[in-house]
Amino acid sequence: MIYLTRKAEFSASHYYHNPEWSAEENQRVFGKCANLNGHGHNYTLEVTVSGDVDAVTGFVIDLKQLKDILNREVLDDFDHRHLNKEVPEFSGQIPTTENIAVAIWKRLESKLRPARLHRVRLYEMPDLFVDYYGE
């Protein structure tokens, strides 16, 4: 078993708002993230896959294919987009780093065979990141 991690970056805007709460409650819980005009981040995504090394190619996964999958499944939809308004997963849930990481996991999980998706790590800022293992 070997683990391979590929990094990618995307820039996107979002805001945090629970429509079932008052404006005051949103402000109290989400602070400056509640500004409905939105704000943005440069997100760094690290996708780790695991699997056996192929005896013929020496690869656990073809890096070019992995890059194409990340672009097609994630970056094309997320990069330079407003997550609340343009990414369907967030029409009904708040695009926190936690929820974005889980959404990315769900988009990638079945696309990487025969390698296995091991971890999605998403940095919102250098001092804040989330890990999801599909647990």
């Binding site: 683990y3 945090y16 629970n18 079932e20 709460w21 819980v29 989400f30 602070g31 849930q93 708040i94 695009p95 926190t96 780093t97 936690e98 929820n99 990481a101 889980v102 091991h118 971890r119 250098p126 001092d127 804040l128 990141f129 989330v130 890990d131 999801y132 293992y133 647990e135």
Partner: protein, 140 residues
């Protein structure tokens, strides 16, 4: 569902690695320049990882302001700009970053936190880092 969230903090402190039970020569042999008599310092990066389910109403695993408040009060305010050797925490323990990491994990594990504490990781320099998850193995 279980999501892990890691928050990164910075503090600066000095230390000297010296075991009074060893000879001067043995200390020098063991600790090298870390044994220099007047100590030296580092900018330590501390990573605190917590875990839990995502609360549907907030989309969050942890109230970050609450986590920051605990870590600032109980760790950063205790260690930042201090000489670690002079602190009660290290009165009987050499302030290696191994011991510092364990100490910070022990401090945080005994406090009520806004999410479950998974592990503590400290970078002493860009080349050295240490991780402690208590009884469990750190995640890969």
């Amino acid at each position: 569902m279980k999501v892990y969230l890691t928050r990164r903090y910075l503090f600066a402190a000095s230390h000297r690695l010296h075991n009074p039970l060893l000879s001067e020569a043995a200390n020098r042999e063991t600790y090298g320049k870390c044994n220099n008599p007047y100590g030296h310092g580092h900018n330590y990066f501390l990573e605190v990882t917590v875990s839990g389910p995502i609360a549907p109403e907030t989309g969050m695993v942890c109230d970050l302001e609450a986590l920051d408040a605990v870590v600032t009060r109980e760790v950063l305010n205790q260690f930042d700009h201090q000489n670690l050797n002079q602190l009660q925490d290290f009165s009987t323990m050499i302030p290696t970053t191994e011991n510092l990491t364990i100490r910070v994990q022990q401090i945080l594990s005994r406090l009520p936190l806004p999410a479950h504490l998974e592990s503590v990781r400290i970078e002493e320099t860009a080349n050295n880092s240490f991780e402690y998850a208590g009884a469990q193995e750190p995640r890969r």
